[in-house]
Symmetry: C4
Subunit: 296 residues, 4 copies
């Protein structure tokens, strides 16, 4: 970077070389895609509000009370159209201002943004409205935008890192859960199936596996429970075993967070000779080049 | 502050300059608002007892067994009146002894203290006693006083600090839960809704979201459970996913506590010779250069 | 201790001075009360087995299937009598061999040991056997002996220490739970009580508090659940809040364990001058007396 | 081992000295028993897929929907035969290529591998197919192979170590749970048994212990719940106590993971000049005295 010749460097995206790239498009880009300016922050907050509002409206539309009230349905329709127009404008603005429009269009968020606008427009084409019910729910996927907004938070990164660093352990954990669920599900199926005049809730091995997952995660709905004494004894043992098993990931995620914290607290002492950072507080000499460190 | 002329400084709250500020008011202030003296501690304990007693009485009044027994109701009424008189005396004492009475009156605890006394006095004004039922429950808000009493404990501070330091992570966590609940709630609604002759418990998207929260936190009431095989399969997957997600905050709160513990065990004592920091509280000499440390 | 004059020290518990203190009583004492010798270990294991067997028998006696079978009841009676004779012999041996018999008799375990023997002997006195049902369950208290046996394990000590060190935090936590349970219980009672033709399960404030505890600890039986949309919304919010609250103790117990582990790993470097131990690995000088430490 | 005379050492498993040990058997051994080569990895992945497929098929066979459809049952039979032939070929290959065939045959995995093949072959001998139902489920034990494959992952080792290091604590924990379950189960049995016209769900002490385990692990099915006010009060107290108890293992597993992480980040490299230990893996010079470290 410091070696690139500064005098001959062309001005990037100048209005002279690329004619249609107007200044307003750059300003639009900064507002929509970045969050460093005040305008960008307000845009993100407004978008967050609009997304939350659309979640509320789409959710409430499925509630029987509102389904039977024409006044509410009319209100919801108005809000939905307003939000659809808003999202459509935002979608077009993103395409217009993006430096590589096609890349955005085919990105994960580009497709979700499109799906959020489409359903209501399609109703205008007199499609069967019933068939659109599922499609309409697709708009709820816009909630993923909330996660994208979190990107501005440093904390989200550290959370993601902790989970990412523990990925191998999580894989091992899930494999162990798979083994435990298979074995205990099959065992309980053999013990409980066909007892009590075929009224047992362990009707099949998949059902027993569902029971095993619901039990081992301590969710415990109670829709499938053992009824025979043997079944209760075995499941009590499995619960204790499963509980011991399932606390393990808590432990390693916790250890990950702790390691991160320690790393963050590590001194930013810099070697005056080789400029390497991160020396321990008690170090006298740079552990890379051997030069004496300045006392912190 | 250091620049204010010390010789002309008036004796604060002296009985000479502010005539009605009698010595008994200062003593009352110390007893009521502070917890350092023996009298203050006994006052706090007595208040704690009175609050717990009032919680028990108000709670029991709603139990059918006691509602139907005139003898119990009479006893409760006597206890309530006794406590109301006590709380009223305490409220007036607080106003009288407080240095800035209005500030106390309009503070959070001032309003709660008032609300704890009012309801029973209002019954004397022959208000509709039924309308007072909700107002009476308001007295239970006095339980917040228990939290205020905990302020004397150093531990409460460290707990609050740990939660406070993790606030950004908790925000990210809640946002992630919101996304997960929305997506999984909608998904389960699409899968389960309208199955089994409309007997499915997933009647609407908000209901499905309620299911998602109850499930992901491993509460698992069992009032809303999947009935189709597809629904069970998806919810088993969501449970494992949700479980992995929900253990994350445990990890970072745990890391916070640990960081606090480490910080508490290390002083910022600095060696006067080699300027090394972080000597243990009980150290007399620098463990690096052997120079004598200045007593902390 | 080093200052006590050794030559005139009398031989403790010698057979000469205290006539009835025979050698066999000392040997009995070592076997029963101590666990360092092989005989002591076998005695403890045998006692553990006898206690577990008595738990199994007393538990199974209450199961309807065994209650209706005379053959099983006869077998149980034989086992019970055998165990009672055994426990009685053990109880008398403890009294005989104990150096301060009365102190043992009135200790926690002395009383439990007595209660474990009595019930069956009392049946011989033709007491009402029905009245003895509860008394018989008292024998299950012998299970506490299991905890006493764990005293030989170093791990039990560290577990106890971790819980003990966190006692203030646990107190604060329980107080916070009390506040949260009172507020949320009352709130849900106001919202849910009397709805749905008085079929709501939130029949009283204590019942609502029971719901709050069952929910916040994520047990979630499902015997008391909200039925109104408002109640579901509020309880979903309370679940998330309560979940955040209840994970806190996990965090501090975890931090306690970690601190213990670190303390255990701390170097055993000893100052050659003042013999103080526990110097940090990087220390050059004793932080107590300033003497140079020998390089580890 | 170092004393064995090297010059006369015969080439192990050479085709010259041990005639039947052909080169193809060694190659087979590497593919089947080891995972370092590309072929070995593909073999493991294919085996994993076959095992998962067999789990799916055996599970689905018990579902009523598929049980009633001849087309599906035919498909399942074909897949099962294909997998059985595959597993049989694999079993024979393992015996042929193993260096100590009998040791493999009588090992845990050898027996499981045999049990996975047998059931279907036995049906050819016109055994009662109903009696084979349980035996067929035995094939699901092949899921343990998944755990064996995890052995290649370093993470599985560290998980196992953490659990192993905490084994004494887990033992103490389980003993404490046993005591708590016995006491609280008996207590609730005495309180709840025989109430409400004998409709109480606490029918016996074992049933009450089952309740105690389901409650204390926060599974909370809701099939056994207290109905009397006293029972609810006691169980609310037990839940809070049990919750405090059951979070303890989370704490120590977490501390174990953390200790491992710290140990993994510290090498035992020692400075040749000042003999200080614990230098970072990437260090070139001692951070205490500046002397060059010997490359690890």
């Amino acid at each position: 970077m410091p070696n690139s010749p500064p005098p001959t460097k062309p001005k990037p995206y100048s209005t002279q070389s690329v004619a249609p790239r107007a200044a307003w498009r750059d300003r639009l880009y900064v507002v929509i895609f970045e969050a460093d300016t005040a305008a960008g922050k307000w845009f993100d907050l407004a978008l967050l509000g609009a997304i939350l509002l659309s979640i509320v409206v789409i959710s409430l539309e499925t509630v029987e009370y509102f389904e039977n009230s024409q006044a509410w349905l009319d209100l919801f329709l108005v809000v939905e159209w307003a939000l659809t127009v808003l999202f459509t404008v935002e979608y077009i603005s993103r395409i217009v201002s993006a430096r590589r429009p096609w890349r955005y269009v085919f990105s994960f968020f580009g497709i979700i943004d499109l799906l959020a606008c489409l359903p209501l427009w399609l109703t205008l084409l007199s499609f069967d409205s019933h068939a659109l019910t599922i499609v309409r729910s697709v708009r709820l996927l816009r909630v993923f935008r909330v996660m994208k907004m979190m990107r501005m938070l440093r904390e989200a990164e550290s959370l993601k890192m902790a989970v990412w660093n523990a990925r191998d352990k999580i894989f091992v954990f899930l494999a162990t859960v798979l083994v435990a669920v298979t074995i205990s599900g099959t065992l309980m199926y053999q013990v409980e199936h066909g007892t009590e005049g075929n009224l047992s809730q362990f009707t099949s091995i998949p059902q027993s596996m569902y029971w095993a997952i619901v039990t081992m995660t301590t969710v415990g709905y109670g829709d499938v429970v053992p009824h025979t004494p043997t079944g209760k004894f075995i499941s009590a043992a499995l619960i204790l075993l499963g509980y011991s098993l399932i606390i393990v990931p808590t432990g390693f995620i916790s250890a990950e967070f702790h390691a991160q914290k320690v790393a963050a607290n590590h001194s930013t002492r810099t070697c005056p000779h080789c400029f390497r950072e991160g020396h321990a507080t008690e170090a006298n000499f740079c552990n890379h080049c051997g030069a004496a460190l300045i006392e912190a």
